[in-house]
Symmetry: C2
Subunit: 175 residues, 2 copies
């Protein structure tokens, strides 16, 4: 089995990425603290051609440090920063996103059953590493998605969760 060379992967340049049609979803990082986690989210968002990433509150904007995990993806994926949940949700509503938080709440929809069929544009909201998505944000969401977990730990890393939910979205979109 011959591994593909970089040139055979047919990736886009950052400029081509900006011009290209995006998949109809955004990511919202609600007070995510870790610069390296945010960088890793950018890298996956680039791979799945995310429309935009909204950084909220203390979530760091791209820096040189972030590039350790973003590997340049911050040059391709559009991003915005808002200080407050209120500003963020106003913006998302204007852009016709349906908001879904990744959170374990009473009555959350398990990702095994969640379906995008009637949701044309989705913003996935991911929360702080310790406290999760803020209650203030949850009030603006259509619902919560829960990734089923069968082990000892109470949650997944935020960059892993976002990767899984983006993959599931893409799979359903192309399916």
């Amino acid at each position: 089995m011959r591994k593909l060379r970089m040139s055979e992967l047919n990736r886009l340049s950052a400029n081509e990425y900006k011009e290209a049609e995006k998949h109809p979803f955004a990511l919202v990082l609600d007070n995510v603290r870790s610069t390296l986690n945010v960088g890793s989210v950018f890298r996956s968002a680039d791979a799945f051609r995310c429309e935009e990433i909204i950084l909220v509150g203390v979530t760091p904007a791209p820096t040189k440090e972030m590039n350790k995990t973003a590997l340049g993806a911050t040059e391709a994926v559009a991003w915005l920063h808002f200080d407050t949940v209120e500003e963020t949700t106003q913006y998302l509503r204007k852009k016709n996103y349906e908001l879904w938080a990744l959170e374990q709440v009473e009555g959350s929809e398990k990702l095994l059953e969640w379906s995008i069929s009637k949701k044309s544009r989705v913003a996935f909201v991911l929360g702080n590493e310790v406290s999760g998505v803020s209650n203030q944000f949850l009030d603006h969401c259509t619902g919560c998605i829960e990734i089923p977990q069968y082990g000892t730990k109470h949650s997944l890393n935020v960059s892993v969760s976002s990767g899984i939910v983006m993959w599931e979205f893409i799979k359903q979109l192309k399916g």
Copy 2:
């Protein structure tokens, strides 16, 4: 939407995890360098109730440093270390795993189409952050799985890739 308390998540203790029936898959880390990446893989492997993780070559065994990202998951998920590909593949064959590498090769199966239906026990092989899965390992694999990517970067982070492939496996298993 009320967030669930830790006690409502019904997670297992490390001892309960050891006794519990696992999902029929293993992860093989072929010369993965980053301790933090390996820790993050352990955390997700715990969540998806992986049978075992095989650490190969320079892939680090659990340490205190690894716990920054594993958060204790190394206490639950069984793991082994082998120095060579030869020892690793002998072990995996004995345990009847079918080997699938996550790698971009000529003729790789896209994860959009890959199906577990006839593969009862799967070992997913994940490679080094820079060079990917070694050619020596690829020779032992039934095939390669490729996560479709639509952006500028040539690959995903190894902990994100492993999370996506575990999720896809679980979804097909439960579907």
